[in-house]
Symmetry: none
Subunit: 401 residues, 2 copies
């Protein structure tokens, strides 16, 4: 797709099947006390055995040193240039709560904040009020009428919500209202160009409506909006690779990312067990499956080394069920590292394995950072993983005569 403009010409639809298991936050970093990473500590007999029979390597999600968010991390694995195709914060937040976005919609990330009697910010997160308090407030804000537009408010969690603007002639080119510092009033929304004035006016009308509704409160008496964004226009994943792709993800944001890429999203349950069952049930219907595993990232974000180890061990137990389907190419990759020592995403390269009948193993004895560094794939941009996946499934013909 991105790195190779001729990809569609050499993609050949075949009955062969590719399963891409994306382990969120797969890569880690050594625990300072033991010198061993989460993957090195985890007991993963199935993944280790699979690595020994696979082609292994490391992926760079964006560039060395650059820590990707979930958007760039996934788009990159799907083959999209993560620098060219940026998904805005508002859109990602909306995707994360399963809000259906239409072409032209503008989504913003909102949060409740607290102003003092002079209208100056005293708490940018309104004391992190909990959902039971914020949901009724969101319902009130959702009643605000902005003439000529549909404006909706969807609670996310605690002090966070999504503001959705729907109508003709909207634009994402407006400024944010969060001044990022205290003791000043929130900013107004300004249009960055004449085509964005309607959006700025609508956002300011929403804010004024919120001021009226919330004004009497001691805390959470105002809202701030940022990350105004529209759905990016991405080339279709399916058309680009001549695939009939499906996404199976328990978390809404990842279903949303797959939708942005034009994949069919198959409804599934709330955990990875449900995802694997969904894969089994629908295995005949598609030739590419994106399967998302969340718990490793969540534990890493919490800075909980042991929980990340457990999440990886829990994943390992599902590997035989996936292998039983006998996919022509099974890719195990990560969208980015989430080292527990960082308690957040990291820039570190991410382990990769690709298993097919063409891979016979290359002496990589385990599925971890150090072992994969010795594999035959080497260290590649994540945007090139799809080429290898398709090649291993016999879906790419020769390039050039």
């Amino acid at each position: 797709m991105i790195d190779f403009p001729h990809i569609a010409e050499i993609c050949s639809p075949t009955p062969s099947k590719v399963v891409m298991l994306v382990v969120d936050g797969l890569g880690g970093a050594p625990n300072p006390e033991t010198g061993r990473s989460e993957l090195e500590v985890a007991r993963m007999p199935n993944l280790d055995r699979l690595a020994s029979r696979s082609a292994c390597g490391l992926t760079t999600p964006v560039l060395p040193g650059i820590t990707p968010g979930s958007g760039p991390g996934h788009l990159s694995l799907f083959g999209y240039d993560p620098v060219k195709y940026l998904i805005g914060r508002g859109v990602l937040e909306a995707l994360g709560i399963d809000v259906e976005l239409q072409d032209g919609d503008v989504a913003a990330r909102g949060n409740f904040c607290t102003l003092d009697a002079h209208g100056k910010l005293v708490d940018r997160r309104a004391g992190r009020i909990r959902s039971q308090e914020s949901i009724p407030l969101c319902e009130k804000l959702d009643q605000i009428d902005v003439p000529g537009l549909e404006v909706r408010i969807f609670p996310v969690q605690d002090y966070r919500f999504v503001a959705l603007f729907r109508g003709q002639g909207l634009s994402e080119d407006v400024t944010e209202t969060d001044p990022q510092i205290l003791d000043v009033p929130p900013r107004r929304v300004d249009a960055l160009n004449p085509g964005a004035e309607k959006t700025a006016a609508a956002a300011n009308a929403l804010i004024e409506g919120a001021r009226e509704i919330l004004g009497g409160r001691e805390k959470a008496n105002m809202v701030m909006l940022r990350g105004f964004s529209q759905m990016p226009e991405l080339p279709s994943f399916g058309q680009s690779y001549r695939l009939n792709p499906a996404a199976i993800a328990a978390y809404p944001m990842y279903r949303g990312l797959a939708k942005v890429a034009g994949m069919t999203v198959i409804p599934t349950g709330h955990d990875f067990k449900a995802e694997v069952e969904t894969l089994q049930q629908h295995y005949q219907e598609h030739d590419f499956f994106y399967l998302h595993y969340k718990p490793a990232d969540a534990a890493g974000e919490d800075g909980n080394f042991d929980a990340k180890v457990q999440a990886l061990e829990a994943l390992d137990e599902f590997i035989p069920s996936i292998l039983d389907l006998n996919p022509d190419a099974l890719v195990v990759a990560g969208d980015h590292a989430t080292p527990s020592i960082l308690a957040g995403h990291g820039w570190q390269p991410v382990p990769l394995l690709i298993h097919s009948k063409l891979t016979l193993g290359e002496g990589v004895e385990a599925f971890n950072e150090r072992a994969c560094a010795t594999g035959s794939i080497g260290r590649i941009p994540a945007t090139q993983v799809m080429f290898l996946a398709l090649a291993h499934a016999g879906k790419l013909i020769k390039f050039g005569p």
Copy 2:
């Protein structure tokens, strides 16, 4: 900067400090008799121990097989595309003798040559006359009056000098006068576009003045000019990375390169010991330090394997003093290889190490070409080193939501 247009957005100013030690000509090649490179032979207990606790890799200054000059080698490490941002020969020569260049100045590299009675070249370097002979000639040439412009001549070494043209409306788009062959006269300077005619006329006036002054001499009776160039407009290093950067370099050319990038140049002494003392004295004033070590390159250029080994061993003794400052990220890199067997710059990949509290070591047992090839950083373009340096110092936030 170059590889990643969003870098300034994700750079976060912090109190953390980065020290980038650039070892000029760091990389080498095996001595054919022993099969071991300069770095492999050198006893470097401090660098070897540091490597074992660092992230290691190899950098490619421009592209595999391409041997960089000092300009591309350094710009690349600073994160500038070395192909896009070329520093001309005249400018580099001027920087190398501490000539202060102003915006719009055109600098050319000049050299004395010898013509026969028919005005044809018999020696393009005038028998490599020594400085004691060329300096008085340069002083005479410096008196040549070119109306409407300031034209200065600065001796460099032996038969080489710098010609500086200062005034309004100058251009670097003019041809060189060295025909590169003998038995023909030197060429005239021609404008490559109408905007360069003033510069061409000035250069030809200088040459005619030189012909009058030098004409009676048996050798060194003419000059040739090449590498006409102006200071390139580079994005500011400090602004690009949101740093307050300082350069400490004993040799003028490297101070000049740092100035081109917009770094603050801290005055220092004439050797690396003085540089380290300068670093210690000014450590609180900046958050990024570029520190240049020259002797390894000089020995390699001389083709002196043992001298290069000694230069590396001498460097090693300074490492504890630098580590004592406890920089948040210490980068040890090279601008290019200077293998003694080439007696000049080489294209070979250059060892790299980055040490921070996040790097715990990865089994790289020594700081040399072969050992660093096994490190976790892999082989990266030198333009990406800054991203890793900033990431390790906690100066980069997440890219994309």
